[in-house]
Symmetry: C2
């Protein structure tokens, strides 16, 4: 999927919602546990119930790896289902990968070619040659961690260098010089919306993936105020707040209700800024 | 495995060699490709041929994920084989993981409980709560990236803050305050042995995993000079230089020869420092 297709889809659905598919067997509706592949079954119902409200889905690979080969199979089935049934949605492998060049190329092939995700999240610590291999694929994106919403995000990311530039700012600025940097997006946590303004000064045009709405307590209006640009430029993620809205047979319906609440806020934010097709 | 067992094993084998099991089907001896699981078969022969010369094995997960479920199965078989046949070796899942707390816990369980690795490599960018979940397991270790040997390692890791402290130094120093920090080890690249002295000033006692010997051009003697401590404190990794020494039926034998060369250098380094059981 290319950038313009993503923007068009956002404007068509009046939504920039990303739903995190963090499937945890301990939290699944109990009636699903009899299924041969409960996690895939859960994801399938969530996707079918919400795909008119969301533009992106983001399985976090940790939740699948936790179940070994069985989990890997659930992940494969989920991405194949998305690509076959809902090819208009943007898919994100939330894997936070990054390694030396030839090894990153392996990861990139695994997620882009074998699993056919549209994007993968990557970690910046190892620098240019750990990320550039992910940028070598046409119409695919690497979504790099810049400023994360967890407590430990403050340990290193906001450390200022001698010139007063914070590490996350340096990460953003430096990455613009990497090959195919137009295929980058960035993870910027919602728990610090005021930082989004600083981010936008450096990367005015790139898409930002914003986790931390809902369970992590982020401020939706602040995110829009500081983060939105003329192409929308935002994907706002919610995981637990949507997918675990009910443990009953109505879990898909309840997930759709929660997704619709967020989509309603998003529609309003887009309309206020006259962003439409 | 606990720290003392690792040290004893190093002194018993007169080796602190770690062998990287980065299995790439394009580089395997062609006669193995007929096997039902060529990667496991390759690893098994490498392990059997070298386990008296090496104290640790390190599969890089990227090479397994690149083959999807089939690759994950090869990884599972490899670690089970190591744990059953060679329980005295230290095992490292080179995965470079790290995510928000509950997600890191998932990764930790996958690698420590399901696969029963002794250790996992982790990335520091997301800070304390992304790494501490890996430190909650007795006799297990998180090996955190500090200073990596790739070109991009210089992009951010050596950036100095206002006080003149480089990011990799801040990462080391900060991590010492995390819960169960005695279960940390650190990745420090061999292409910059002089930096090992700076590392040792901050973490005199922790083990360092040093990649970059061989294919990446690191200096073995410099590593020992700057990096070794009274408990040895080093695991030096070689991957391609050992495992791909031959593409013939003799690949195990040739790998053992290459491993023996490094083990010989290690024995000398240990003897010169009077490190013995």
């Amino acid at each position: 999927m290319d950038r313009q297709q993503l923007i068009d889809e956002i404007l068509r659905k009046r939504s920039f919602l990303c739903i995190g598919l963090d499937a945890d067997k301990d939290k699944l509706p109990p009636h699903l546990l009899d299924h041969e592949d409960p996690i895939f079954e859960f994801n399938r119902e969530i996707i079918d119930a919400t795909h008119h409200l969301a533009v992106a889905y983001k399985p976090n690979t940790a939740f699948y790896e936790a179940y070994g080969m069985e989990g890997w199979r659930s992940l494969e089935r989920t991405i194949r289902y998305l690509n076959e049934r809902h090819p208009e949605v943007f898919t994100i492998a939330d894997a936070k990968r990054g390694d030396i060049g030839n090894t990153s190329t392996r990861y990139a092939r695994a997620f882009f070619e074998d699993l056919e995700f549209d994007s993968v999240t990557v970690a910046p610590y190892m620098g240019s040659d750990s990320v550039e291999p992910f940028l070598a694929f046409e119409d695919k994106f690497a979504i790099m961690l810049a400023l994360t919403s967890n407590k430990g995000g403050l340990d290193f990311q906001v450390t200022e260098d001698r010139s007063g530039e914070a590490l996350f700012e340096k990460v953003l600025r430096t990455s613009l010089g990497w090959k195919n940097s137009d295929r980058l997006m960035y993870v910027v946590g919602a728990t610090r919306p005021e930082f989004l303004g600083q981010v936008r000064k450096i990367v005015p045009d790139h898409f930002l993936l914003v986790p931390g709405i809902g369970a992590q307590g982020g401020d939706f209006n602040g995110v829009c105020e500081y983060g939105m640009n003329a192409d929308v430029g935002l994907l706002v993620n919610s995981s637990r707040g949507i997918i675990y809205a009910s443990k009953g047979h109505d879990f898909g319906e309840k997930a759709a209700q929660k997704a619709a609440e967020l989509q309603g806020q998003m529609e309003k934010a887009l309309s206020e800024r006259n962003l439409s097709l």
